[in-house]
């Protein structure tokens, strides 16, 4: 059977989180009453004059630089002409032949191996309105029309759905570090289209390209690409031709379907927008923005490994958001021991678990690095067991009390004195003759069950190590 290779390029649109739209002073706030954030400019009335938002341009340059792009100066805006009810002017202000930036790249991590994905261009444009489809009509809300949008186009350097997924995750995390977009696919502040074709392995010529739309999560992008690869493979193996078309991902059927195709290719008749004079981006400006770029995830991972002795796996988890990475670093700095293992296990264990249950980040749990250290101090001195410590953590988060207060109020200090423990252990031995037999019969695992029973009887307060030693001694007597 012929082996095929997928050739994938992604086109990502990211809404910039400016306070106002790209070319007018209307608010960009999400979730407002329909058509309350519009004005003659974003509604495309005749005779109005769009003026570019300074912050939108700065944000766009910031992303372009973080993606290693070259900046075009001067850069200009063009009109992309087409008719659609969500486009009030009948043209979109976009960039055509002098995009803001070009020729960048993004390195993605594939199980510890790097892959270099080239970026063709990053340009600035405006968003369209939102359509809500009903039985026989469509409703239009223009609140979104004119919100600044970045278009980030990759070269077709992506060769699998997994690579596409990693590209998106990496891109999103960089943009969030730059603090220029929420990148929330559910709110539509990040959207992704894909181009995909297959070619025989080790050949250069591209196959026929399919454009995929309507993928509303990173997972959907992965699933749609996986489906499309199989569909195209099966066509090619039957010697059937692939028709160049746009297909949409059906989230319910989990299949791609062709969109209704127009007779002729779209002719957008781009031309320079006469309302928007050229933009010259000076070296000083580029330098100034470059300096404002924070340490990005890749560099941070390397530094965490070097400075705190973390594994790649742990470092990757901790830097997934800038806020969490900053929180983790404060904890690492405040933690008194040189070996960070206990702390790290707590960060990516119980703390992450608490964060996941609450649908928030580590930094949003409300526990301070000092508060966490206090709790870990009790654990390390073996004053409380891990089990108790976990419930104390939950209480710190929920009741905003300190570890010391909770432990004192709940009388939670671990029972380490042999005398009290011996009483419990004896009782456990008495009540579980079966496990005692098993243990004496050579089943070493049975001891763990008995330790568990001691823990249970002591409400988690028994020192498990001492309990185990004690049980062994009593059973061997």
């Amino acid at each position: 059977m012929t082996e095929y290779e997928a050739v994938i390029g992604l086109e990502v649109h990211v809404q910039l989180k400016t306070k106002t739209k790209a070319f007018c002073g209307c608010s960009t706030e999400f979730g407002k009453e329909p058509n309350t954030q519009v004005c003659p400019i974003c509604l495309g009335f005749p005779g109005v004059l769009p003026v570019l938002n300074r912050t939108a341009l700065d944000y766009a340059i910031k992303v372009a630089l973080a993606l290693n792009c070259k900046i075009h100066s001067p850069t200009k805006f063009d009109r992309k002409n087409y008719f659609y009810p969500d486009l009030p002017k009948n043209y979109q202000i976009s960039q055509y032949d002098l995009p803001l930036s070009y020729d960048g790249f993004l390195d993605i991590d594939l199980d510890g191996k790097d892959k270099h994905i080239r970026i063709r261009r990053v340009h600035l444009e405006e968003d369209a309105g939102k359509l809500i489809h009903k039985e026989s009509t469509s409703l239009v809300d223009f609140n979104r029309a004119g919100i600044p949008l970045l278009e980030i186009v990759s070269e077709p350097d992506i060769n699998s759905p997994e690579e596409a997924y990693q590209y998106l995750v990496t891109l999103k995390s960089i943009i969030q570090y730059l603090d220029v977009s929420d990148c929330d696919m559910e709110k539509g502040s990040l959207r992704c289209d894909a181009n995909i074709s297959l070619r025989k392995k080790n050949t250069i010529e591209f196959g026929t390209k399919i454009e995929l739309k309507n993928m509303n999560s990173f997972k959907a992008v992965k699933d749609a690409l996986t489906y499309e690869i199989e569909r195209q493979k099966s066509l090619l193996s039957k010697n059937k031709a692939i028709v160049q078309e746009t297909r949409f991902w059906d989230t319910k059927e989990l299949k791609t379907f062709p969109m209704r195709t127009k007779e002729e290719a779209m002719d957008y008749r781009y031309f320079p927008d006469p309302d928007l004079p050229m933009f010259i981006i000076t070296q000083e400006k580029i330098q100034q923005i470059r300096e404002s770029i924070p340490e990005l995830p890749r560099e941070k991972i390397q530094r965490f490994i070097k400075d705190y002795g973390l594994s790649l796996y742990v470092a990757k988890i901790l830097v997934s958001s800038k806020k969490d990475a900053d929180f983790a670093e404060s904890c690492l700095k405040a933690y008194p021991n040189k070996d960070k293992k206990t702390l790290v296990n707590w960060l990516i264990g119980p703390l992450l678990q608490e964060a996941n249950t609450r649908g928030c980040g580590l930094a949003d749990l409300g526990i301070t690095p000092q508060g966490l250290n206090e709790l870990l101090g009790f654990v390390e001195k073996e004053l409380i067991s891990n089990l108790v410590a976990k419930s104390v953590l939950t209480e710190i988060i929920e009741k905003h009390k300190s570890a010391a207060t909770i432990i004192q109020e709940g009388n939670l200090i671990q029972i380490s004195d042999t005398e009290s423990l011996e009483k419990i252990a004896k009782k456990v031995i008495q009540e579980n003759p079966r496990s005692v037999q098993d243990y004496k019969g050579g089943k070493n695992n049975a001891i763990m069950f008995l330790v568990g029973q001691v823990m249970k009887k002591s409400q988690g307060k028994a020192n498990p190590k001492i309990a185990q030693e004690l049980l062994k001694r009593l059973l061997n007597e």
């Binding site: 058509n35 519009v38 003026v51 300074r54 002409n81 009509t137 239009v140």
Partner: protein, 95 residues
């Protein structure tokens, strides 16, 4: 550059204008004259002239990211041919 009827039809379609046959014929002739006139620019020697997209000696016209009032909804929907609640209403655009 010649402008034939097909080209005019194509452009008319892009602009969503429906033209009768006699209009097509008349417009083809007129457009041809216009294009021929503009074609005279080709006679100029422009090898030392930079490409221009804007005629005004202006650049970097920017505004600060400061919100200002939007239109009141009543005003916005005043010019809508059809509306429903606070939305503009249009014929359904997808199946």
């Amino acid at each position: 550059m010649g402008i034939d009827k097909e080209t005019v039809k194509y452009v008319a379609n892009l602009a969503r204008i429906e033209l009768r046959d006699e209009e097509l014929k008349r417009l083809s002739e007129q457009l041809k004259q216009i294009i021929d006139f503009i074609d005279k620019l080709k006679l100029l020697d422009i090898k030392d002239v930079e490409p221009t997209s804007h005629i005004l000696p202006m650049s970097n016209v920017l505004r600060d990211d400061q919100p200002r009032e939007s239109l009141p909804i009543s005003k916005t929907l005043e010019c809508a041919p059809a509306k429903e609640e606070n939305f503009f209403l249009v014929p359904k655009v997808i199946e």
